[in-house]
């Protein structure tokens, strides 16, 4: 009989977020032949609809209202209430991004349904849809299923693969206008911070600094390495508490939980609360002066040495390799 699935394909700063394809792949695992609809807000380039279709969307639903141009809780919640009323899906899947984290719980309460957030895996087990999600910031994992009402989940970026593309599929597009009124929170301004645009939660590579960087200026070599690798910059709690950098960079059980392909920890000793936030990264590299530092216990590759010597050398080596690839 199949399950009708709605997937939210989020556009940020004019780009379709990569996690959209990962969420579509999650939908493909559980739809059981039912229609997969990708919801996109506003008129977007044709390439977005083509990409979503080739990644598994049976229909692209373009939802229009001026208020959806930028994020507000009320606009996004109201739009989705209309979409759900119209489409009556069995399953709703969204990426676990800042905006979905913000409005998905409201939508779930409005729909009187459950919500399983921050899932890193989804599978069918004994005929049931089972979601896996980290608890204690990744110190353990929980398997959870919906026992009553709609199935609603948010999917953490970088965990479920994107799945294979099939470019022979044809785009099937529908449009819907929604009413939005009474927006209670007004975004006056968005201040871009100095993180150079690579977001920690979706970054494929993260270069992170700890107490070992010793000062705000000590973050410079780390930022340079990150720039060469197209990586995001992170930090340990120690570095944030010492005010070497902003709390928005903190990785750990308090702070962000990340799962990049490559995590380079520089001058980070590896307190339990930091390890919780990054130990599910695919490859971990540790650079630390202290050979006894606990970070080496979970690192795939370790270099015992002074980060101020090692990191600039690493930056130079990578720069050469990347320039060679480009030429």
């Amino acid at each position: 009989m199949g399950r009708e699935v709605i997937v939210f394909a989020e556009v940020k700063n004019g780009s379709l977020r990569n996690v959209s394809f990962e969420v579509l792949n999650a939908a493909k695992r559980i739809h059981d032949g039912g229609k997969i609809t990708a919801v996109i807000f506003g008129e977007q380039p044709d390439s977005f609809a083509e990409l979503l279709t080739s990644h598994g969307a049976d229909e692209i639903l373009v939802v229009n209202n001026e208020e959806l141009t930028s994020y507000t809780t009320d606009a996004y919640t109201q739009a989705f209430i209309s979409i759900v009323e119209e489409k009556k899906p069995d399953v709703i899947l969204m990426p676990h991004t800042a905006s979905c984290k913000d409005f998905a719980p409201r939508l779930a309460s409005h729909l009187s349904c459950g919500l399983i957030t921050d899932c890193t895996d989804v599978n069918i087990e004994n005929g049931n849809i089972v979601f896996t999600r980290p608890i204690y910031a990744g110190k353990a994992f929980q398997k959870r299923e919906v026992i009553d009402g709609k199935i609603f989940a948010t999917i953490r970026p970088n965990n479920i693969p994107s799945g294979l593309e099939d470019s022979s599929r044809t785009v099937n597009k529908d449009t819907m206008n929604v009413n939005i009124d009474n927006i209670r929170t007004v975004v006056k301004e968005v201040v871009q911070k100095a993180t150079d645009g690579v977001d920690l939660s979706e970054a494929k590579i993260i270069v992170s600094g700890g107490r070992g960087v010793k000062s705000t200026k000590g973050f410079e070599p780390i930022k340079e390495l990150a720039e060469v690798l197209g990586a995001a910059v992170g930090a340990s709690r120690g570095a944030c508490d010492a005010e070497y950098c902003d709390y928005s960079l903190q990785i750990g059980q308090t702070g962000k939980v990340v799962t990049p392909d490559l995590y380079i920890a520089c001058g980070i000793s590896g307190a339990i609360q930091h390890l919780a936030g990054m130990s599910n990264s695919k490859i971990i590299v540790a650079i630390n002066k202290d050979p006894e530092a606990p970070i080496f216990d979970i690192a795939d590759f370790g270099i015992v040495g002074d980060l101020f010597e090692v990191v600039p050398m690493l930056t130079e080596h990578f720069r050469k390799v990347i320039n060679k690839q480009a030429s």
Binding site: T73, A108, C113, D118, D261, I272, I284, I303, F318
Partner: protein
């Protein structure tokens, strides 16, 4: 101002997690107020100090959670409510329904909670509560200013900052960076011992148990797979760095 703070007792973040029979073992673990809820509590106390009013700390849990409420009272909360009834324990859907029932009869200008708990990490209960009460919310805030009936907030959005204006009453969830929670003072601790903690059960809240049953179910909890033992590189530093770059090229797509 009438300030309501929802808080949860959680494992200390320095605790290791052990699993026994598919459940996280709580034996011997040190418990604290969920760090994000502590930011919410501190902010509420600071607002009370500035504008006057009262702070009420509310939690759902067993009698063990009383110690979290004692800490809240010692920090400066005026009242404490413990919902202690295992029929009211469920998932985030249940929790928000129960919290809404507690708050229904209370007057409030601002409700504060952490943006997530460091144990379950769902990040849902506060936001769902706002929907249950039909008030606005702002999630993950790092700054809060009250001007009369208006609030100006800074919200952490994937590293960027949104500056948001809204009106009271509202619910906010606290992100790290909002403030530096105080340690309870000794006189505060002594005074807190004598303050009453109100205990509530389903009957006190006129909750229809059928209406709050969990929508989701935990079927298993497991530890992450153990990482393979890593390798500490040896030799001249330049050779080590060279080797590392070669090793990583084979494993990760590096293209700058």
């Amino acid at each position: 101002m009438n300030l309501l703070v929802c808080l949860k007792q959680t494992f200390d973040t320095e605790e290791k997690v052990h699993i026994e029979n598919g459940k996280v073992s709580e034996d011997g673990a040190k418990f604290v107020i969920n760090p994000y809820d502590e930011y919410a509590l501190e902010e509420a106390i600071q607002l009370k100090e500035k504008f006057g009013g009262e702070v009420t700390a509310i939690t759902i849990g067993t009698s063990q959670a009383e110690s979290a409420l004692r800490t809240a009272l010692a920090m400066g909360a005026d009242h404490a409510v413990l919902v202690n009834d295992e029929r009211l324990i469920g998932d985030e859907f249940t929790t928000s329904k129960v919290l809404a029932a507690v708050m229904k009869d209370k007057e409030f200008d601002l409700i504060l909670s952490g943006y997530m708990s460091v144990d379950n990490g769902g990040g849902q209960s506060g936001i769902r509560l706002a929907e249950e009460l039909d008030i606005a919310h702002v999630n993950a805030i790092t700054k809060l200013e009250v001007q009369g009936n208006q609030v100006v907030l800074e919200r952490d959005v994937e590293g960027d900052v949104e500056i948001i204006e809204a009106e009271l009453p509202i619910l906010i969830t606290a992100q790290q960076g909002l403030n530096e929670p105080r340690y309870p003072s000794l006189p505060g601790i002594m005074k807190a011992k004598r303050k009453p903690i109100q205990e509530l059960k389903a009957e006190d809240l006129s909750i229809d148990l059928d209406q709050i049953q969990a929508k989701t179910k935990i079927i298993d909890q497991v530890l992450p797979p153990k990482r393979q033992e890593g390798r500490i590189l040896q030799g001249e530093m330049n050779d080590q760095v060279n080797e590392l770059v070669n090793l990583l090229q084979g494993e990760v797509n590096i293209n700058g």
